[in-house]
């Protein structure tokens, strides 16, 4: 479904993304993990043709995303709040997306109603504009909007962040459903290793723009990931210096300083 070839993105000569080859088959659910600056959002932005690659390209369902716009009808994404229209109510926003994707109001209403437990009685039907909702509720709206119109590629950047526990549990179910659908390719990034290993079937680990691990999920995946990230953090731990001075020596130094 998605093929990435020799993809590089550099800002002022600094390489922030460098992927030689990555192939994502139709129906796969991919979890993207990595510390800040690993290149997750950069990759998503390239997938959506929001930034230009320095070299290389991405093809999605045979469409080279920076050449043709034909990928738009089957792709949906929620990356950040700039995907929300602040002055619309959640319902109006859903209708807007629905109209763009050829759904009428009734279709959209039915779809949104089927996720009523996801909203927890909040966010929708409150006579509030999106800009006045809390970050968490905004995110809920953005995520559900990506499900409108049966997209074939769904991209979610950090969907678990800012969500309350009930919604996180519900979101895991939703993503698993998408992952089980052989037609839908899902890309999810997350800092929460537990969530991401739970909902996806393949984990790609990015570090400083490169793919350092690419593994099909099994029972050991979580432990492997955890080990890897502990390793990174230890590599940057403060240097410990052994203190071997006696009390007398310390006092001498202090006296000298005074």
């Amino acid at each position: 479904m998605i093929t990435i070839n020799n993809l590089k993105k550099a800002y002022d000569g600094n390489l922030v993304l460098d992927i030689e080859h990555l192939e994502i088959e139709t129906g796969q659910a991919i979890g993207l993990v990595g510390n800040n600056g690993a290149g997750k959002t950069t990759l998503f932005s390239l997938l959506l043709d929001l930034i230009q690659a320095t070299t290389g390209h991405i093809t999605s369902n045979g469409v080279q995303v920076n050449e043709s716009e034909d990928w738009k009808p089957f792709t949906s994404a929620f990356v950040d709040e700039s995907f929300l229209i602040g002055y619309l109510t959640p319902e109006e926003y859903f209708y807007f997306i629905g109209e763009l994707r050829g759904l009428n109001k009734a279709d959209v209403d039915a779809l949104v109603a089927s996720y009523s437990d996801f909203f927890n009685g909040e966010a929708v039907g409150q006579n509030k504009y999106l800009r006045d909702l809390s970050k968490g509720n905004q995110k809920k709206i953005g995520i559900i909007a990506t499900l409108i119109g049966n997209p074939k590629v769904v991209i979610l950047d950090e969907p678990f962040a800012n969500l309350d526990p009930s919604t996180q549990i519900r979101l895991k179910k939703i993503i698993k459903q998408l992952a089980d659908d052989p037609e839908v390719t899902v890309l999810v990034s997350s800092h929460d290793l537990i969530h991401v290993t739970e909902v996806t079937k393949r984990i790609v680990l990015l570090e400083k723009g490169r793919v350092v691990k690419d593994m099909t999920k099994d029972s050991g995946t979580f432990a492997q990931l955890e080990e890897y990230f502990i390793g990174i953090s230890e590599a940057h731990a403060p240097v410990e210096v052994a203190i071997t001075a006696t009390d007398g020596e310390v006092n001498d130094v202090l006296a000298e300083e005074q």
């Binding site: 930034i51 950040d80 700039s82 995907f83 602040g86 006579n127 800009r131």
Partner: protein, 494 residues
């Protein structure tokens, strides 16, 4: 403590997005600032002599230059307040991060209010009043009285400064106040009603009674005191620092569905204008342009028909220029969504185009009152309206493609101060928008007659309409070329 505040202030100034523009723009802005200050200085220094000449020549009716100044001071302060309302930033914006730090609330408020006192808008009047008062002293006016008058002006300026703090929080005050100004100005111009008759003695009073400067100074002190207590109470996240939440109202706009494909965007654009402060005021300001022609009716321009064309372009195209010039920036806060959704550029542009056409047609209807002024005026309006609809609507969208200023829809600030909206390309594109029709007019009016000139403009408009699809193709390509730059620019925050 105060040093720390100042340090923060300096950094916020130097590191603001507006400051990080290219050098040319910075020099241009600096240049304008110096020109304005120099003009004020010049006005202050020479106003007295110029007014005396005018009085001697009987152009201006006043007892003496000082009386004339007192006469017009009401307009000075009115404009002062207007400009402040639009451009002066409110002190509450950067307070949030200070709240939980070990400052007392009183100190934060004092600092914020103190900051407004030092703003450009209070410095600017000094550049007029100080030289003017000096000239008064040289001309032999009583020093004590001049000082009293000068201090009174300072007091009024400061009072306006604090008054503006409230005005900014009470949106409903603004448009009635503006309407009163416009009406008073027009009434004055045509001599129906002269507000200055009542205000002149007030300003003269401050000179005649040397003690009276106390009154405006007390007023300023009182306004400051009220502002201080007002903000002290507002210094909570859920009070003054909260953004007001209005109850959302959904309206049925399905009648727009007849526009077919573009109805989706058109409905959105109407919501955009209705629900966002910045877009709403642009919309309303656009219609104020209808009255613009009045300024060209002075005898000075009598018989210069090119000016009528020029006025007509503004009268019917106010909304077109103010709103259209900032497409696609109106959608900047969700531009990434628009770029990744299934949206053909052409439909997106076409919806904006229709919006401008409808507004221009509406403006033209409002312009019918120019019929009472003269049929030639109405012809100019009609020709200009067609030119605006046919030709300028496309050109405006074309120049918009190069404007990469993100718009904060919820705020009115910077509505006129968006320096980034200036660039060479948009500046160059004002030529076909405003100058070309005037040139066309003369090209046909001189060899033939007035009517031929007006007809020529209208025909050009119709030609533009016929070529619309080709121009749109061109615009579409430019939008596509600029896409990545635009997305990156919109992602920047102040």
């Amino acid at each position: 403590m105060f040093k720390k505040f100042l340090n923060l202030e300096w950094k916020s100034f130097v590191r603001s997005a507006a400051f990080k523009q290219n050098l040319a723009v910075k020099i241009l802005i600096g240049f304008f600032a110096i020109i304005i200050l120099a003009e004020m200085l010049g006005a202050g220094a020479f106003a007295y002599h110029i007014l005396r000449k005018l009085i001697e020549k009987d152009i201006l009716h006043a007892a003496n230059p000082f009386a004339a100044v007192n006469k017009f001071l009401i307009y000075w302060f009115a404009i002062d307040l207007l400009v402040r309302y639009f451009m002066q930033k409110m002190p509450v914006t950067n307070i949030k991060p200070l709240l939980y730090l070990p400052f007392t609330k009183g100190k934060i408020v004092k600092y914020a209010l103190g900051k407004t006192v030092l703003s450009f808008f209070n410095v600017l009047p000094a550049f007029f009043f100080i030289p003017f008062s000096t000239v008064l002293l040289i001309e032999g006016y009583s020093p004590l009285c001049v000082i009293s008058w000068h201090l009174a002006m300072l007091g009024i300026t400061l009072s306006l400064n604090f008054l503006n703090v409230f005005l900014n929080n009470v949106d409903k005050v603004f448009y009635p106040v503006l309407a009163v100004f416009v009406i008073a100005g027009l009434a004055q111009y045509y001599g129906y009603f002269d507000i200055t008759v009542y205000t002149q003695p007030v300003f003269a009073f401050f000179y005649n009674h040397a003690w009276s400067f106390i009154i405006p100074l007390m007023l300023a002190a009182y306004a400051c005191w009220v502002a201080y207590h007002y903000f002290l109470k507002q210094l909570y996240l859920d009070a003054g620092l909260a953004t007001a939440v209005k109850e959302a109202k959904t309206e049925d706009l399905s009648f727009l569905d007849r526009f077919g494909n573009i109805a989706v965007y058109l409905k959105n654009d109407i919501k955009l204008i209705k629900r966002n402060k910045r877009a709403r005021s642009t919309f309303i300001m656009g219609f104020f342009f209808v009255a613009y022609g009045v300024f060209f009716m002075s005898d000075l321009y009598d018989g210069i028909n090119g000016m009528k064309v020029f006025a007509g372009l503004f009268c019917t195209g106010g909304f077109l220029f103010t709103f259209g010039g900032l497409v696609p920036s109106w959608d900047s806060s969700y531009y990434k969504l628009m770029m990744s959704q299934n949206i053909p550029y052409k439909d997106f542009l076409l919806s904006k185009w229709w919006l401008m056409i409808i507004a221009t047609a509406l403006s033209f209807v409002l312009c019918s009152f120019y019929l009472f002024v003269g049929v030639d005026w109405w012809f100019a309006m009609f020709a200009a309206a067609i030119y605006n609809i046919g030709f300028n609507s496309s050109v405006v969208l074309l120049s918009g493609a190069y404007v990469k200023t993100p718009i904060d829809l919820t705020s009115n600030k910077k509505a006129f101060g968006d320096s980034k909206a200036f660039n060479v390309k948009t500046l160059l594109l004002t030529i076909p928008k405003l100058l070309l029709p005037v040139i066309i007019y003369y090209a046909f009016a001189w060899p033939f007659n007035e009517t031929a000139g007006f007809v020529a403009i209208a025909v050009t408009g119709v030609l533009g309409l016929l070529l619309r699809n080709r121009i749109f193709g061109l615009i579409e390509n430019i939008y596509k070329q600029e896409k990545y730059d635009t997305i990156a620019a919109y992602a920047q925050k102040d």
